[in-house]
Assembly symmetry: C2
Homo-oligomer: 550 residues x 2
Amino acid sequence: MTKYVIIGGVAGGATAAARLRRLDEHAEIILFERGQNISYANCGLPYYIGGTITEREKLLVQTPESFRARLNVDVRVLQEVTKIDRDAKQVEIQNHTTGETYLESYDKLVVSPGAEPVKPPIPGINDHSIFTLRNVSDTDRIKSFCDDHQPRRAVVVGAGFIGLEMAENLHQLGMNVTIVEMASQVMAPLDYEMAAEVHQHLKTKQVEFYLKDGVNAFTRKGNSLSVQLQSGRELETDMVILSIGVRPETKLVREAGLELAENGGIKVNEYLQTNDPNIYALGDAIAFPHPITGNYVNTYLAGPANKQGRIVADNLVMNNTRKYKGAIATAIAKVFDLTVASTGLSAKALKREGIDYVSNIIHGSSHAGYYPGALPYTLKILFHPENGKLYGAQMIGYKGIDKRIDLIATVLMNNGSIYDLQEIEHAYAPPYSSAKDPVNQAGYVAENILTGRLKNINWVEVSKLHAPQICLLDVRTPSEHQLGHIEGSINVEVDQLRQRLSEIPRDKKIIVYCGVGIRGYFACRILMQNGFEEVYNLSGGYKTYEHTMC
Amino acid sequence: MTKYVIIGGVAGGATAAARLRRLDEHAEIILFERGQNISYANCGLPYYIGGTITEREKLLVQTPESFRARLNVDVRVLQEVTKIDRDAKQVEIQNHTTGETYLESYDKLVVSPGAEPVKPPIPGINDHSIFTLRNVSDTDRIKSFCDDHQPRRAVVVGAGFIGLEMAENLHQLGMNVTIVEMASQVMAPLDYEMAAEVHQHLKTKQVEFYLKDGVNAFTRKGNSLSVQLQSGRELETDMVILSIGVRPETKLVREAGLELAENGGIKVNEYLQTNDPNIYALGDAIAFPHPITGNYVNTYLAGPANKQGRIVADNLVMNNTRKYKGAIATAIAKVFDLTVASTGLSAKALKREGIDYVSNIIHGSSHAGYYPGALPYTLKILFHPENGKLYGAQMIGYKGIDKRIDLIATVLMNNGSIYDLQEIEHAYAPPYSSAKDPVNQAGYVAENILTGRLKNINWVEVSKLHAPQICLLDVRTPSEHQLGHIEGSINVEVDQLRQRLSEIPRDKKIIVYCGVGIRGYFACRILMQNGFEEVYNLSGGYKTYEHTMC
Ligand SMILES: Cc1cc2nc3c(=O)[nH]c(=O)nc-3n(C[C@H](O)[C@H](O)[C@H](O)COP(=O)(O)OP(=O)(O)OC[C@H]3O[C@@H](n4cnc5c(N)ncnc54)[C@H](O)[C@@H]3O)c2cc1C
Ligand SMILES: Cc1cc2nc3c(=O)[nH]c(=O)nc-3n(C[C@H](O)[C@H](O)[C@H](O)COP(=O)(O)OP(=O)(O)OC[C@H]3O[C@@H](n4cnc5c(N)ncnc54)[C@H](O)[C@@H]3O)c2cc1C
Ligand SMILES: CC(C)(COP(=O)(O)OP(=O)(O)OC[C@H]1O[C@@H](n2cnc3c(N)ncnc32)[C@H](O)[C@@H]1OP(=O)(O)O)[C@@H](O)C(=O)NCCC(=O)NCCS
Ligand SMILES: CC(C)(COP(=O)(O)OP(=O)(O)OC[C@H]1O[C@@H](n2cnc3c(N)ncnc32)[C@H](O)[C@@H]1OP(=O)(O)O)[C@@H](O)C(=O)NCCC(=O)NCCS
């Protein structure tokens, strides 16, 4: 009878335990969890605080009791593993209920301790109205603070997905919410022009945000907390959510001498095994080579943690037979009415890695425009400048964003290219898509760029160009032009372009734009095949340009 | 300057024309369309009849005028190509406006004539209240019949997706709708137990349907039309929609001596070229090898037609450089509140082809159960009994059905297996999915079947078993058991099974079931690892069983 000891009882740990039991009914399985709960829905916590999820029990997917009953796992909550003795193959446990410390031996050890919120040593950070959010206890604390103090104002520090989810949920409770973020944009996995759509959306919701700014100090002033920003600005608030990132919990394994990656995650091989063959690790705490860059990275996501749980159990019972292939950080968040999703690498990340890429942005609608209820989306894809291999995608919109990002992630993980996007055979009926799905269209546009049939230019490049050498050509209708256009552009509607070619200067670089890019493309084709050589289409059209400029 | 002539101005033809123009600004492109409109939204027609789409112009994605203006294509509507002279490389045209006939030469010819509704010679079939639906004119006819006669009753003959869409839309107009279908189920691409969910849904909508029945005759009786069924039943109605299938329009190419496949479609090679190298064909009219079976099949879907349009244009201009890979009939339909989707081959189809397969059915919810608004789905997948290569999938539910079928179709078209389903890295946040997406779960369950960790049994097999040799074991809670169970089953809750093993007979085949299959699986694992040998889990649990039995 093998004895498995598992550290951490939530996404990774509980899943590994469950699969272990199904694989081996007779094994001894002990699950240690430092906190009070196992198997809770981390991802649901913000929505319980905001009142969207009304029953607290719903957060507890399994309880120690239900887990014992169904899976015969020896669940020990409020018991923290404080030491791993690899030579003796035993762990030391501190029982937080009794205060006692004891040892437990193992044949195989599974480590899934997760990651903890970063809490920098900013003056005043320990004020009772400043919170981080990781588990059910944190949630209870925030919830009872809200109930007891009825805060009217909240500051969210850090605009990653947890920060934005919290902003939305506190806003839903009726608070005035202000976001403070160090970077020049919210949601780091997005590129700026995509994040700009989120910025606009936050504005429509009356959520204030300060970008490129950080917190210098928190100072209590009676009932208020004052948040001093690096810019000198001062915010008065009733509570603060600190969501500036997480850090893998690796103290325990570090002390046990397990190998860590440079970024601090636990280094594991493709079987999710550490450098100690009797110890496997998974979840937020591990570092694993990124499928595109090969760099060791952490993935702070529940899907990978759950999938790894099953792989670890299989490798334990069936002796390293199942390989983990890494994750490309496919992620999604609801931000008020918007859905924001990303997969793979952004332009920022590609630049950081020194990887050459090309990108394009398209706008369209979630399903056939003639069927009611179609809503706009924006899709950016990034790919290899020659062979079109996919590097990443970002998508924002209201409907069907999840399905497209999943499709692109699947193609990407399969080492696919923009040609694979073209060929995706999607299910089409008017309520669900168009005869060409957005993912197909993104592939088409990408091919036109790769083959030189279309030269794209992006909003940053355009904004840097010098007026005298270029002709900005708006090919939308005169009435669209009147409603708003890029300063200095001339207007020749695409449908009249063939007749009005003489109006277009032949000695200038021509930057064509339309609403979203498609008429611009048609116009570029006409111009390029009529002897105009330097013709560029503004990627994402006026829509993207407008988002980024205001 | 190359001269392209295109026959058929809708999904395939118009798309080919548009891409041709973008590739070659100076080519001569003539588009012949027999009807009044080009580029109309065939797929939207039922919804215009039902009033969901309110403006008729919305159906016309492009008009001859807009198409000319933007793409400089010589669009000739109400002009039917009546003959192809391959030697002279010219076509004969009948102009339905002037009555005149004339010839037009071509360098390359593109044929996208589509498919026409089957209208068998049933007595009375030409009654003015009997309609088929293919184009805008048909739609206008049905719409004005409804406006003029205010029919209260409608019979829909044929329960494919167009039939069901029409049933829904006529029902929405307030009519009593009755469906008549020859097969034992609606929607042929589904297997029976999946279609059974649609049957149940139709019942809740008060839509009557008669299965395994066909029409013998239509007889006018004053203001009513009597529909005599083969069963002897007689239905009185005000109007009839005939939607019993379509047939490729191949008279023209047949007469021109182009090669047809056995099923009657135009045979094309991987470049979508017919046996005449100057003639390409696409859309509903062509037959192409099925990616799984290799048999020539027709695909009556707009997505493939649109995608082929671009491929044909590329091959014309760039000389056969782009291969078409075939389609696996990924399709979807809204049926009242349900979404019904399928891809690849069903069990029926696999049996017909003599291909060995295994299948499983899972039920779950569209997203994390703890987040409000999660709705049930049913997913069936079919795969190779040894290597797990995917053959097909069917999915029914209310939300996120489209995204899962698209993912599975993508894996399938990529020659993927159930192991690829497990690894799909989907975007997860509570409003969109669960940490393990349904597609992952389907892959997990499939693996357990392939590795023998779980033996599945389906509802047909169970219903055939002989009571004395089996023990039907309901592992749900006593209160679930009381609410309804399979006749003759005993009830031992899974969470008590380990303690109550002695109650389970060791000399019988044990059929375990729960609500949907998952607790049943857990119970099977306990039993199998405790020496019970013949243990089977009811695929899809009581839910699927109930659907098929009532
Ligand atoms: C508020 C919030 C929202 C989120 N939303 C999403 C989302 O929408 N989508 C998504 O994909 N991901 C989301 N995540 C991330 C996701 O929850 C994590 O990626 C996932 O839970 C990681 O699983 P894990 O097993 O590595 O760690 P965890 O689930 O954090 O579990 C680790 C457990 O180990 C315990 N532990 C640590 N050390 C010890 C020890 N020494 N002894 C005993 N026990 C120990 C901890 O107490 C903890 O309970 C969210 C996370 C949070 C906090
Ligand atoms: C009511 C309805 C609903 C549908 N819903 C969906 C759906 O939800 N999803 C989906 O994927 N598919 C759907 N389809 C199917 C889809 O519309 C077709 O697969 C697609 O239109 C096929 O394109 P095609 O170019 O082959 O033929 P068509 O689009 O039918 O175009 C062929 C055209 O050629 C013309 N033509 C034929 N012969 C000649 C000739 N000799 N000379 C001149 N012109 C000629 C015809 O008049 C016709 O307009 C639906 C179809 C219908 C009728
Ligand atoms: C609750 C928890 C322990 C469940 O783990 P689990 O039992 O492995 O997962 P599920 O309940 O999804 O069940 C999956 C198993 O059921 C099987 N299954 C699913 N549907 C089935 C069906 N209809 N028929 C038969 N088997 C089925 C799967 O094959 C899989 O078994 P396997 O791994 O042995 O192949 C774990 O997911 C957890 O702790 N979750 C909460 C924490 C968390 O993930 N937080 C982050 C997200 S908010
Ligand atoms: C209307 C119709 C002629 C349009 O054909 P089309 O121009 O090829 O298709 P789209 O309008 O989707 O445009 C696609 C083109 O725009 C390009 N494009 C799309 N979005 C773009 C963007 N944001 N920037 C630049 N280019 C873009 C694509 O690359 C593609 O061009 P390419 O094929 O040269 O690469 C054709 O789809 C049609 O007739 N539809 C109605 C009939 C029908 O399909 N019925 C069945 C379904 S209801």
